[in-house]
Symmetry: C2
Amino acid sequence: MPSYRIVIIGAGNVATHLAKACQGAGHQILAICSRNIENVQLLAAAISCECLALDRLEHLPEADFYLISTSDSAISTIVEHWPAHCKKGIVAHTAGSIPLGILSSMQSRVGVIYPLQTFSKERNVDFQKIPCFVEGDSTETEAQLMALAQSITQLVQPLSSEQRKVLHIAAVFACNFVNHLYDIAVGIAQEQGINPDWLQPLIEETAAKVANLSPRAAQTGPAVRGDQTVLHKQSEMLEHKPELQQLYQLLSQSIYQKFHP
Amino acid sequence: MPSYRIVIIGAGNVATHLAKACQGAGHQILAICSRNIENVQLLAAAISCECLALDRLEHLPEADFYLISTSDSAISTIVEHWPAHCKKGIVAHTAGSIPLGILSSMQSRVGVIYPLQTFSKERNVDFQKIPCFVEGDSTETEAQLMALAQSITQLVQPLSSEQRKVLHIAAVFACNFVNHLYDIAVGIAQEQGINPDWLQPLIEETAAKVANLSPRAAQTGPAVRGDQTVLHKQSEMLEHKPELQQLYQLLSQSIYQKFHP
């Protein structure tokens, strides 16, 4: 397995896990660069590499890969100020919803490595099991990004910007919105003095179930049964929380209509 | 461990798993009774016990426990036609949202065993790890129902009707609505020819994450980051599906407001 020289731009959740995965695969992290000085110092200390402020791009070392995991809006600024001496390396961003085209004015070889996972700094993940979707500005660039991705995970797949955008919105429903529903459920339980830990086996089984059954076949609850009495009573119980009541009604209706067209 | 004589009323998802768990714990399933003749014949054959139609309650055998896992609306009819010769056993329903009071006119000892899990016939579950919530009409009834519950699961907890109702609505958010979001995500991916299996590691990590982090701390995605560009673009992408777009906007707003009050 070749060892690449890598610079990470960003020090948030994705950057942190990506940097650790690259280091774990035997690559050399030359520097980590971010506008959040506190974050970047912590991460650079953990990785034992140089750290740089994002407004000092001219001090970036020469590398094989520059991986940009900043907030989506920061990418344009980086593109604009990309230093001439870094143009030999491949530049790739890691954002689901941003097309490859955002990097096209860089006069570098550019691409995307999109890891489809939810990352929090406080939680370790096994990067080897994270699907990574790769796109390059040429067959050769794509092959080199595939090689890098394959060194950190077993699940690598080429994917166009157009399809990545679709996958990202699917992920927002399957992860971000789902987690928000967990938060609502925990809040409902806690408000009445019920230990929310009791919900965890249900949460995990609901997720594990759809590995074998389609979500359509796995659906349970009052809305799929068409149990109007329970639907009505539960909606009434949320009357003091109009926002939750609206979510309850909209989601119940959406399930009901799918199964009772 | 004592062996009880048990009659199961209902042959749906909950009844099926409950009957198997009771039999697995060494209890004797005397009969299974349901209005759905096809379901009840299948289940009775799997359990090797007698099967009865729901309109023949007068033929029920005498038992220690009668467990009612029918549709919520069928319980009242059962209560009304409960035969005199069955009044020595304890009658318990398994519904989250129905108070114990629905059984109070039965002139039997009555209670509730509510297993907090999503059950589909097509999927096996380890009942020993399912939290069960118990309520009885007296300390003695409750103790006997606790003993029965403890014979089939390690996680037994007394819970009032009032709190059970709250736990059930929390479960609707954490399971039924979550599964519906999985279905939407799978649909979005499939529509663009993307294999929805790529979403499974994300789905499972999102669920596993909240065993250690609170959902509040685990939240990721464009809404919590306040990334208006992505929020706007993704909402636009759903323009041809007004129902999904409405869900997208409501859930994104709800997350955004929680983190940017």
